[in-house]
Symmetry: C4
Subunit: 259 residues, 4 copies
Amino acid sequence: MPLTLDQARETLARANRMIANEGVLDAFGHVTMRHPTDPRRYLMSRSRAPELVQPQDIHEFTLDSQIVRPIEARLYGERVIHGEIYKARPEVNAVCHHHAMSILPFCISGAELKPVYHLGATLGEKVPFWDSRDEFGDTCLLVLKPEEGRSLARALGPHWLVLMRRHGATVVGKTLENLVFRTIYSYRNAELQLMTQSLGVRVSPLTPGEAKMAMDRNLEPRPQARAWEYWSIRLKKSGAYPNGKSEKSGKARKTKQHG
Amino acid sequence: MPLTLDQARETLARANRMIANEGVLDAFGHVTMRHPTDPRRYLMSRSRAPELVQPQDIHEFTLDSQIVRPIEARLYGERVIHGEIYKARPEVNAVCHHHAMSILPFCISGAELKPVYHLGATLGEKVPFWDSRDEFGDTCLLVLKPEEGRSLARALGPHWLVLMRRHGATVVGKTLENLVFRTIYSYRNAELQLMTQSLGVRVSPLTPGEAKMAMDRNLEPRPQARAWEYWSIRLKKSGAYPNGKSEKSGKARKTKQHG
Amino acid sequence: MPLTLDQARETLARANRMIANEGVLDAFGHVTMRHPTDPRRYLMSRSRAPELVQPQDIHEFTLDSQIVRPIEARLYGERVIHGEIYKARPEVNAVCHHHAMSILPFCISGAELKPVYHLGATLGEKVPFWDSRDEFGDTCLLVLKPEEGRSLARALGPHWLVLMRRHGATVVGKTLENLVFRTIYSYRNAELQLMTQSLGVRVSPLTPGEAKMAMDRNLEPRPQARAWEYWSIRLKKSGAYPNGKSEKSGKARKTKQHG
Amino acid sequence: MPLTLDQARETLARANRMIANEGVLDAFGHVTMRHPTDPRRYLMSRSRAPELVQPQDIHEFTLDSQIVRPIEARLYGERVIHGEIYKARPEVNAVCHHHAMSILPFCISGAELKPVYHLGATLGEKVPFWDSRDEFGDTCLLVLKPEEGRSLARALGPHWLVLMRRHGATVVGKTLENLVFRTIYSYRNAELQLMTQSLGVRVSPLTPGEAKMAMDRNLEPRPQARAWEYWSIRLKKSGAYPNGKSEKSGKARKTKQHG
C-alpha cells in the first residue's frame, strides 16, 4: 500500500534530517523520493539545509525537474541529478546527493571504494566514477544542466552509488529506507577503508558472492526497520526543530515503518 | 548474592545503552548475560538497536538460542553467537557482539591487535581471528547457524575477544561489568594502536607479564565500580529514553554495583 | 542598505559564536567586521573566547587598532592583524584569525593547501605563507606590533587566506557572510586534504578555472543564505548563552541575511 | 591572597570536570592541588571519575599520600604520583595524571613530543620519558609504591610534563589554572603533531627561543583567564551534575579567577 502524499512528505522530511543527523550531510546536499502515486513526479524540499527540512518544505517536481506549483522560495540548483536518474532508472524511488567527509577522499584521489564489511555491502559490487571535466571541461562542478544530469545518470548505470570527482556522491535506492541505509553505511564503509589504508596494510574486501548475499540480507525488512528506528530516535534526541518545536516534545506520531 | 531476574534485566538493558553511548555499538550488535539463577539460559533483548534497549525488551533464551516464551516481536538473527559461547565457556557470564569502528580495521586487514596500554590489557594476551570463509565459504557474513556459532566459539577458545574477518568482534566476560569494561577499553586500545601505527613508528606493546598484571588489576572491584559509575552517568547525561522518559529525570534508582 | 551599528554588533557576535560552534575556534582567535557606516573603523569583541561573544562585548576600533571609547575590560592582543588588513584591503569587510586543528598541520609542515572540492574553492587559487621568523626572528609568535601586522597583510596580498607558520591562519571576506563561509569551508577542505594524503595517494585539486567558477558560485546569495541559516540554527540547538539565556528560547529575532 | 579551603575544593572539583569535559580524562586519571594554606598537604578527590568530582569529594592528604581524616570511601591507588612530586618540586602547586588519546601514541612508540604551535609551547622545551620497566621490571604499570612515585618525580626533573611508557602522562603547574591550560593545550599539540606526521612530512617545531617566549605569554593572567572562562562555560553547557543538579541551572557562583 503506497503512502499518501502527506505521509510521503513527512517521511521524506524525516529522512533528510536523519541522514544529516548522522553526519553525512551539512548545509548542502539533498534527499528526494519519487511521488508515492505518480511515478512521473518526484518530491524535493525547497532550497535549505537537509537538517532543517520540514514536511511543508517539500514540493512536487516533474521528471524534467520543473516545480509543479511554482513558489516564491528558492529551489535547489542541482535538481537535474534527481530528475534524470528517476527517468533513467524506473526501479529507483529515492536519491541522495551529498559531500560526506569520508567519501570525498575517494572523489579527490580516484581511489576505489570497496565493500570492506557486511554493512558496507549495500554500496554494491562496483562504484563508478563520474568526472564533469570529461564531457564538460571546466565548470563550477555543480550539476546544473539537463545534459549534465543525464551524463551523471549514464555514469551511475545500473549501480547504486556514483562518485563525482572533486565534488561528492549520489546514492540511489529502491525505497527511501534502503536509500537511508545505503547512504549511511557506505559513508561508514568509506571511513573504515580510510582507517585501514592509513595503517599501510592491504585491505581485503568482501568477495562478490559475500557482497551480494550481505546486501540482500541488509535490505530485508528486519534490519531496515531496526536501523530506521535507531536513526529516528537519535534524531529525536538531538534536539530542537528549526521552527522552535522540539523533536523531543512533539507529540511524536510514532515512526511508521515502510520497509 | 546473585541478582534477581528483574535486576538482571534492568542491568543488562543499562549495559546495552552504556556501551552504545560510548560509541562502540550503533544500530546493530547485541549484549547478553547468562540468566542470574539458571546457567542453562541467557538473557537477550528482542531485535532493536542496543542504545534503545529497555528492561521489558529482555527475554530468556535456552543455550540452543530458542526463546523460552515466544513473542510476536522480531528476534536478533545472530543469537547462536551467544548461545554457543555460553555452552563452550561455563565461566563466561556476558557476551557482546559489535562492529566498532576502531576494531574493524584489524578485521579488514588481519593486522594483529595487541595491548598497548594498561587499560587495554583486558583484551588478553592473544586475540584470535575467525574467518567465516574458512569453513563456510561465501556467506552473508552473519553468524546464523548453530555450526557457525560453534565454529566461532572454537576460534575464541580460552580467550576474551575474537576478531571476525570483514565483520566485527565478539567479546566475553566473567561478569557483565567485566564485559562492559573490556569492550570499551579494547575499543580504545585499538584506536590507540591505529593512531600509533599511522605515525609509521614501531608499536611497543605490554610484555605478557605486564599484560597479565594489568588485566588482573583492572578487573578488581574498585576500577570496575569507578568505570561503571562513570559510563552510567554519562548515559544519564546523554538524554532521553526512546519511550520519551528522560534518562535524566527518571527517579533514577541509584546505579547498583555488582562488581 | 547597510546595517545599523546595533544590527552589526548583533550579527558579528553571532558570527563569532557560529564559527566557534563549527569547531574552527576555541578559547582563542577572533572575528571582526568593518564598521557598517564608517570604513575607517572596525568592530571587535573585548578579549574573550569567540564562542562566548555577545553584542554588548563588541566595541569600535580605529584602523590603528585603538579602541574608540576606552573600557576597563581587557582587549585582544593581536588587534593589529585586523587593523592592518582593513587598511591594506579596502574591499575587505570582515576578518577571522584562528588556530583550527585541520589547518595547523599545513602551518606546521609548510605543505601547500589547495582547493580539493567545490566548497573548498573559496580559499582562492593560492594560499600564501607568512613566517614571523623571516622578518622578526624569535618571537612569542603572536602578531602584536603594527609592523608585524603590516608584514602579515603584505604576505596576504590580494589573497583570501594566509597561513601563519607554527601559529594559525587569517581569513578575509568582502562580507561577514562570505568570511564565515570561507572560514568554515577552508577548514573542511584542509581536513579533506589531510584525509586524502594520509591514504598515500595523489591529490588532484580543482583546475584554476574550476576553482574560480566554484568560488563565484559559492559566494552567490542563495548558497550564502542557505549556509548561514544552517549554522545559525545549529548554534541555536547547541544550547545556552554564557549569561544564562538559552540560544534556544531567546525570542529569536529572525536571522537577517545580508548576502 | 590565597584561597580558603572551601574555595580551593570548589575550584579543584571544577578543574577536574573541566579537563574531563575537554576530552583529556575519562573514567581514570586525577587532578590535585597543593593545600592553599598548608604546603605540606595536598587536596585530592576520593576515587571516582574526574568528570564526576564534586567539592565534597575532595579530601586532604599528607605529602606521604596518607589521608588526613580517614573516610570509608575508596581512594585513588596512584596517590604517590602526586605526593612525591609535591615533595620534589616546591614551586609546583597542581598535578594532573591522565591517559589522553592523543598523548598515548607518544607513550606507546617513544616518539618525541615537541611544541609545534604557540599554544603548545606550555609543554616546555623538553618532555622526558619514564618507563616503569627500567627500575621495576614487569608491573601492572600503575604507580602504587612510594619508590615508584619517587622514580617518576626524578624523571620529571625540572620539566612540566613527563610521558609514562605504555601508560599515560603526568603534568604539573605552578597554579591550578596553569595546569589546566598546559594539560589541555599539550593534548592539542600532541594531536596536531600526530596529524602532521601522518602527512608523511617534516614537522618544524618552535625554536627554543620561540617556545620560551610563547610559554611565558600563555601563562600571563589575560590568556589564562580567557581560557578558564571558556572551559568553565563549556562545562556548564555540557549538562547535568551527577547528583542531579544541573551545571546550567545552579545559581552559578561566578567563576573566580586566580591567575
